[in-house]
Subunit: 314 residues, 4 copies
């Protein structure tokens, strides 16, 4: 299988032949391609899988969206919905933490400031168990409409909460519903962040310029994302397994010739249910059977991307 960029290089030469029999034309070109180094990960990984575990519950606004019908009379609290959120810190995060340990992987946890302040011991535990604490705003507000000053204060407050509770300084950022504003990346760079994830445009990390400095985009996913698939699309856990497995199979095949990253995302009250942790554990068992697959925190991916001269730059 050839890649598009290689195709463009040789298109002039082979296009005539290709019209006759493109498949042969390409199978030849594959030979030349295999040795190419620039398409590999710096540390020799074949495929890098990055798992997110969003820590949000406890910080949600009153009567936040939930699986319960949004039809309550004004002025009343949706009490069962609150217990649905509580599940995230009482059962969800602890169960996922045990699962990451069982599989020996480290993940990135984007933490909402208000959730961290609500459950400081759990936030601390996530870091103590070896995972990355990244920032996810001070609360669940949308930030795309904030002024530059408001937004800077909002992002800094969330990051400070994470650092003060966990002792970990966040270098990565995720905006509520991925909805950054026009100033967000500039602000992140000013505050010392090195990467953000609110971009779905590629299956590998890349470098952009923020305030004339390198800033990394570690792409996120809505295709292998529990809130989008389980709550948004009403998938059953077996559909989640099948779709994520298909995603892995294709990226693993491509990674023979090309740098590929796979992103999977979980949220405390959704990805932490027994049915989803069982499904995730089965997926991890499957992925780990493949040689060259590594599981990395997004801070590691961002660092490796900055060091790699072959990283894509936009």
């Amino acid at each position: 299988m050839t890649t598009r960029r290689d195709f463009i290089k040789m298109a002039g030469l082979t296009s005539a032949a290709m019209m006759v029999n493109p498949v042969d034309a390409f199978s030849n070109s594959i030979e030349k391609e295999k040795p190419e180094k620039e398409n590999k990960w710096l540390d020799g990984s074949r495929l890098v899988v990055s798992v997110s575990m969003q820590f949000e519950t406890g910080g949600q606004p009153e009567n936040a969206e939930s699986p319960f019908p949004q039809n309550m009379q004004k002025g009343y609290v949706d009490l069962p919905a609150e217990t649905w959120y509580q599940y995230g810190y009482k059962e969800g995060i602890p169960r996922m933490l045990d699962n990451w340990d069982k599989h020996g992987i480290k993940v990135t946890s984007h933490m909402v400031g208000s959730a961290v302040l609500q459950n400081p011991q759990l936030a601390k535990e996530i870091v103590q168990r070896g995972h990355e604490a990244a920032a996810h705003g001070m609360n669940w507000s949308s930030q795309y409409a904030m002024s530059y000053e408001e937004e800077k204060t909002f992002i800094k407050a969330g990051a400070d909460a994470v650092k003060s509770i966990t002792g970990f300084t966040p270098v990565g950022y995720n905006a509520n519903w991925l909805r950054r504003g026009q100033n967000t990346i500039k602000i992140l760079q000013e505050l010392g962040f090195t990467y953000h994830i609110d971009d779905l445009s590629r299956d590998e990390p890349f470098i952009i310029q923020a305030n004339k400095k390198d800033f990394v985009v570690v792409p996120y996913t809505i295709r292998c994302n529990d809130i989008v698939l389980i709550e948004g699309k009403n998938f059953s856990s077996d559909q989640f397994f099948n779709q994520v497995k298909a995603e892995f199979d294709q990226l693993y095949a491509e990674s023979e010739f090309k740098r590929r990253q796979m992103s999977i995302s979980f949220h405390d009250r959704i990805g932490g249910t027994p049915q989803m942790v069982k499904t995730t554990s089965d997926l991890l068992d499957y992925m780990k059977k493949h040689t060259g697959v590594t599981f990395k925190r997004k801070d590691e991916i961002a660092k490796m991307t900055l060091q790699d001269k072959s990283s894509i730059r936009e």
Copy 2:
């Protein structure tokens, strides 16, 4: 696999080692953990599965929500939707009763007062066949917005209807759509109830204080719930099977070290269809193959929780 609470105890000692190799650190700790008794059920069960069979049809309001499009002109009755509800008592509950007997299990039936009065013989039969009659309100009204007095009258009327028809005194309660109000638990305790189920926060029962007395929360489910999955999420019956099976597999694995309860819920006109009873029967066959799994009524679970000194208290 370690548990979070154990982790916290030992975190001070092992955190350094853990940073080097958390997996080893934990696999060691597992040894120490296995003997722990406090995480087991008082009667020696490994995993307790509790099935609900909601008895509601016959008591629904005119033109209640149904699978039919909600687009009728005002002033007319949705006659086919009524026959969809009638199915619940003509076929659904009788079929489920035969299935519980076939598998030799007892369930908890939350009964709406108006449904019991509409089909007294069937309500009585449920109890005669060994199942628990619990209360589910006098009718389908939302109670979260009722005054203290209104709500107390509403709950008592429903419980009295159940008792007068079935001879069984309800000790458990389920509010319409789980939506209790701020006074509900206080009222339940005053009326002699010992537990409620309108809480999704844990995978095991726990004790709270109501009027300064112990009151049990036996958690319910929306993840293994026919009305949420089949009517709400449009699952097919095979998706229901796969998702509930995954839930069981994970909880069974965890129950080696921790007290775990699994909840499954069915409603007369939904869980009582041939396709769903076949699916449920297949699930019960699968669960019964696992040693240490017991099926209990929620009144038994509440009683055992009150007697158990190791129960979680909030």
Copy 3:
């Protein structure tokens, strides 16, 4: 497995024993039950499966509901949606007819009058190939809000169209979206119909009184219905297969002791697609492997129900 009615008879005697061990109590009772004749079909069938093939396209109103987004500016015709409906008579019905012949079964086709007039040759062919022509209204109007006279004219016009084109006199009726009005059954009886299908309350036919005469209800389905599952619930064809198979498995098991009918429903532009006909053919192959399963037109079922002294009467 015992049945509910048997249980009630013996409840007095066995209830004490049952409380000790209900399962044994029932397994004994099963012996006594097996010989019971009244639970069988008059012709000795074990399970009767009835298939509907609704003939509606060509008769739909302009811009009728379709899979296309309902967002067109007023005053324009949704041309691709029209071709989606045309598929029903150009490919759907012909394909289903070939499938019924391949499997050697006869079905009931509820025909909308305006559709029959639009495609008379196809309507005629359905009858020539041995299937039942039943009435489905003169057009797609809702009839629940019509006056007695309007409704009688509407039903008669549709039935007359079917008879004049196909030569078959309809004796069965299906209202648009099953939504009959308070006068519908009275009118049907006056017009010489012997049964209707707009009822979901049982898994076997039963007899009601209309104008003090026997009138049969041959229950329809929304659980094994292509428009509800494929267009309404967005099932894939494999979900349709799995759910209908589970329905069959349970009804077949019950039919050892009890009269059971299974209903499956298809619509020209939906059930007639290649993916659905393949799925239906696989289901028929599966069902036909079971002894005692017969496939009957609803007019046959209604006739047998009237002749059977053990039919349920309401």
Copy 4:
């Protein structure tokens, strides 16, 4: 299995026999049918599969529909949604191109003019790799409500953009959401197009009259269409596999006696994800195992249809 048209021819003769035993009657007739030539494809193909790869991203309007909630305040750009669209040209089309080469098939790419101008190199590459460039309008506007002159200008501008960038003269057309207007086919014929695809009425191509000249309809699909199934119906990629496989199985069986075409459709940002390309590759592997299956561009199908005297004419 007989076909409907054959049935009509012989109905007079065999209908009596058929009533006795239609299955035998038909199995006999099958013998006579096999030699029939008019039901075959001119080039001897048994089943023709046509794949579409829609090239639209880069040309979408600001804040175009996406998987993100449509709840943004006015005046702001949905930045993550933009990256979801960028995925189409950065990863989606290149990945699909590699997959078509891997399987040695050629597809039809309906290209939006504004998308081609945004990513000219990629549009050119599609043609260089042997695929058909077809027109899909100048931008994403609905054309059904345009005046004759507006629409002609709109269609011509899109086709000119495709030709000037790719060097390929489009002869096929697809309207936004298939929604052509009353003048569209007349305009297409005037502009030199030979076929359009905005019709779902048949499983084989057919000929209509436009300005008294032959014009081909190469039917499109919403049953095997990624935007309808994945984004519209929320299918998981395994549901897409199962449903398209069932579609193929039935059409392949029918193609023994009848000319059949199967259409499958993909869109850059949806069909080009790893999970969907893996699924598509598995489907192509499956189809290619069947003798007589060919994969053709729609321009080839239109040409063959015009040359074939046995083509259906409407």
